[in-house]
Amino acid sequence: MKKLILSLLFAAGIVFGYSQEGISKKSFQTASNTMDISMTFKDCDSSKTSAFKVGNGVERITITSKSHLSKGDMSFSVIDPEGKRETGFQIGVGSDGKPGNGQLTHEIKQPISGEWKLEIKVNKGTGNITYKIRY
């Protein structure tokens, strides 16, 4: 009887251990990083580059961005570790143009690992930009 109880406890321990391992793997796979930024600028000259590291095995990067510009020029670019401009947009209003909008939804499947860059350049710009990057 003692042996049977011990065997059952041992088997339960193994099953519990496996299930714990499964949960931790699952949580690892679903773990993701998110950058969620919002910027407002007025008659502003600015050039900002931020980097984010994408490791091996990341399934996708999702990029969404919205921008409105009433004056000046601005650009939003996402550049991969090889230097390729993956996506982005510019808005050119200048000093006498009509306001412009840019909106982007982009998904990169199986992105290459390494340091990705995000460049936002504003030239005498008045407006705003929001962007969200999830990977």
Binding site: G83, K84, F89, Q90, I91, G97, K98
Partner: protein
Amino acid sequence: VQKKIYFPFIFAVLSVFFASGQQAVLSGYLKLDTGWVKKIFICRISDFNTMFTASDKLIVAESSIDSTGFFQVQIPSAKEEALYRMHIIRKNDPVSTLIIGSEFENHVFFIANDSSHIYFKSPEHSRKMEQGNISGDVANQELNSILMAMHNSGNRDSLKNQLVATTENARSELVGLFAAYSSFGLNGKQKNRIGKALVRYQKNNPYGNRIFEEYKNRGNDLLLVIFVLIVFPVAGWFGYGAYKKRRTLALRQSLSQRETNIARLILDGRTNKEIALELNIEVSTVKTHVNNMYAKLKVGSRRELLRYREIFGSKEQQR
């Protein structure tokens, strides 16, 4: 007789008049729901860098869409191919609104010159703006193919190869330049292929400015590599020669006159005994001089001494 003379003249004048007035035409069907403005806007993209630029200054033509979804617009165009973007906007959005990706994507690209007739037809009159909806000539087929590959490709290597192959083989110069412009992360061989392919393109094509500049610099880089590959070995060879001469001179100066004479006689093949007789000194003295000389020249035998024959000049010089 007068009629016969005037007829060709009038025909020529009319031909020139109509030819100069030719414009590209874009027509098609697009069914929009109430959330959208029933208009299409055409932007002229004069530089690949501005393909995704929203600016009212780029708009060169616009047209209303009728209740059946039909539209037709004449586009100011020239003999040379140019890149254009057609877009639509939602109500309350500025005319220069660019939506990239998502179900609301609002633009497509096309190539046109003054004799082009381009068609846009979305499937079953839907609102969907997809690059594949554009049709017309070979240039637009090639452009669609490359834009769709860039949009869909999960395999970067195959995309790189396609961009290189398109640069080499595109029938449309504009598409070829666009492929070269869009290429990324290429290896040396692929870069060389693009460099060679660019030879067939017009150097004054404004779309190629950045590309020609990039590959011109690459040509300069190649010249630099060749220069370095030639100059370094030659400089090294001369440098080593100069070093050897200086070392020889230093060694020669370190030997006494007697040691030099004995070394010359050894190099002539004389034994210590013969040298002692010739110089009228003891054999033991010869041996001492020989040992001192070996130490200075860092040699251990007569055979090794042959390496330094040049220090003591040729046999003729010795005599």
